[in-house]
């Protein structure tokens, strides 16, 4: 599903964010990515949906080698990957329904398919009643649920979340975790970067620790801890 071999990434300013990363993530896994800020977590995640390209090494997602991927093919890779951010990245002028539908409109789905998929996914995240509301009328947790709905509306095989609970209070964070586990239970691979110790230690899943551009620990049912 996700394979990285000797992945090395050096930014133009000289910062080495990945210094030979090797990892393999199987379909249906739930993976936490932890580590101190600036350790290369974001780069590690961004390389998976080709927001960043590796300087050398091999990255294979769903059987596609990203090193050989032409720019024109990147959109088709992204359609197989859902991405969720700490700051939600919703469009303020669109309501809940439109924000989710947007993801299907830009890949030119038919209106009928869009209606069905959007309604299904809003029901899944528990926002069916609020589909006409605008982002600024929602709580942080609700906004994050919209963003999750958008990431999974196209039934991607992988959902990548970059600190999805970073802006949320503990109760809401649990709620978001519950939704991710629900999505995972349907067979979707989840890769989640997080700083939330409590969640990692309570909802036990595979833990990958990234420090200094390297994977320093990789444990199934691991705990949140790293040297620094």
């Amino acid at each position: 599903m996700i394979v990285m071999k000797n992945v090395y990434k050096k930014y133009p300013n000289g910062v080495v964010a990945a210094n030979g990363i090797n990892i393999e993530i199987d379909p249906g896994e739930f993976v936490y990515v932890v580590g101190p800020s600036g350790a290369g977590k974001s780069t590690f995640i961004k390389m998976m949906y080709r927001e960043e390209t590796s300087t050398s090494g091999e990255i294979v997602i769903n059987g596609v080698n990203l090193a050989n991927l032409r720019n024109s093919q990147v959109p088709f890779l992204r359609r197989q990957i859902g991405v969720v951010f700490q700051d939600f990245k919703l469009l303020p002028k669109l309501n809940v329904y439109e924000n989710v539908a947007f993801a299907l409109e830009v890949i030119e789905e038919s209106p009928k398919t869009i209606r069905k998929k959007v309604n299904d996914v809003l029901a899944l995240v528990g926002l069916a009643q609020k589909s006409r509301m605008f982002p600024d009328e929602l709580s942080g947790g609700e906004q994050q649920r919209v963003s999750i709905a958008r990431s999974i509306v196209n039934s991607p095989k992988v959902v990548i979340a970059d600190e999805p609970t970073g802006n949320l209070d503990p109760d809401t964070s649990w709620e978001i975790m519950r939704i991710f586990e629900q999505i995972n239970a349907r067979g979707t691979t989840i890769v989640m970067a997080t700083h939330n110790r409590e969640i990692v230690n309570t909802r036990r899943h595979r833990v990958i620790v990234v420090e200094g551009g390297l994977i320093t620990r990789d444990e199934y049912e691991g705990e949140y801890s790293y040297e620094s």
């Binding site: 949906y49 720019n71 024109s72 959109p75 088709f76 890779l77 992204r78 359609r79 991405v83 990245k89 469009l91 947007f102 993801a103 409109e105 830009v106 890949i107 030119e108 209106p111 958008r150 196209n154």
Partner: protein, 294 residues
């Protein structure tokens, strides 16, 4: 691209024109000014070209027969000229007619010469193709009984020189204006791109193709060009139509004739519209390429 998608792009691009109304106004005005000048320039150039053509077509060779030649010899010369390759028509004018023409042009003093006419009979020769006038004139000059062979040597060349110089100056001016208009359009598009940064980011994340992201901006540029072309099209059409109504009857029979309004006005409008679209598309393309690395 699906029709539904195109509709969406068209809506988005029109909305954005309204959102950045000041930039829309600025770049549309730039296109308007540019195209007004371009249009006026084309009207002038096309009509001057027409004049040059007319003059060129009007060039004839005057063959003066040797005054000593008798009637039979002149007749023989006329036949020979008439049978020369490339000659369209030959008009004979007797020595007396020639003298009368001179008297008309230069005054009665010359009527003294009526006693003893020093002129020769003349033949006015027109070539089938005006460009071959010089060659034909040279050929005729070799025939017997010719005294002098003249044609409008140099006049046409001079006119073309003037035309070319003015054309070059005009083209430089127009290019500078086109560049300004494109620059303004590309700035407008850049503002739109910046304003929609978040939307574009999300589009890219959820897998919109590059063309899907770019097309609304290209369309926006094209609208700017089209909007800018409307006023020049109307102004130039109306102005030329009225100019034609006023001047065409007064220029009857002159060498300089205005081009007919049809199809000229339609061709001109088509060209202006095309240039508007082109300026808009190109200006936008520059921005999209630079600021929209998708």
């Amino acid at each position: 691209m699906k029709a539904r998608t195109f509709g969406r792009h068209a809506r988005e691009s029109l909305k954005s024109l309204g959102r950045n109304s000041w930039m829309t106004f600025a770049s549309t005005s730039a296109v308007t000014v540019t195209l007004l000048l371009v249009g006026a320039f084309i009207v002038i150039m096309m009509n001057l070209n027409q004049l040059a053509d007319n003059i060129e077509n009007d060039v004839e060779i005057k063959v003066v027969a040797d005054p000593a030649a008798d009637e039979a010899a002149v007749k023989e010369l006329e036949e020979k000229v008439r049978s020369t390759a490339g000659v369209l028509e030959v008009v004979y004018s007797s020595r007396d007619d020639e003298l009368n023409k001179m008297i008309q042009s230069f005054g009665d003093e010359l009527s003294l010469y009526k006693q003893s006419n020093p002129l020769g009979d003349a033949l006015y020769v027109k070539a089938k193709e005006p460009q071959k006038t010089a060659a034909i004139a040279k050929k005729i000059d070799t025939y017997d009984y010719t005294y002098e062979v003249v044609y409008g040597e140099g006049k046409v060349e001079k006119l073309f020189n003037v035309l070319n110089t003015s054309r070059n100056v005009g083209v430089v001016l127009i290019l500078a204006l086109l560049f300004t208009a494109m620059f303004l359009i590309s700035n407008t598009i850049r503002i739109t791109i910046v304003a929609r940064k978040r939307e574009i980011e999300i589009m890219k994340l959820v897998g919109a193709t590059n063309s899907f992201v770019r097309i609304p901006f290209l369309l926006e540029g094209i609208w700017l060009g089209v909007l800018g072309a409307i006023i020049p099209m109307i102004v130039i059409s109306v102005a030329y139509y009225n100019l034609h109504v006023y001047w065409a009857p007064r220029l009857q029979g002159e060498l300089f004739q205005l081009l007919d309004t049809t199809p000229f006005i339609f061709q001109l409008n088509g060209l202006l519209l095309f240039m508007g679209v082109f300026i808009g598309a190109w200006g936008s393309f520059m921005s999209v390429r630079k600021f929209l690395r998708v």
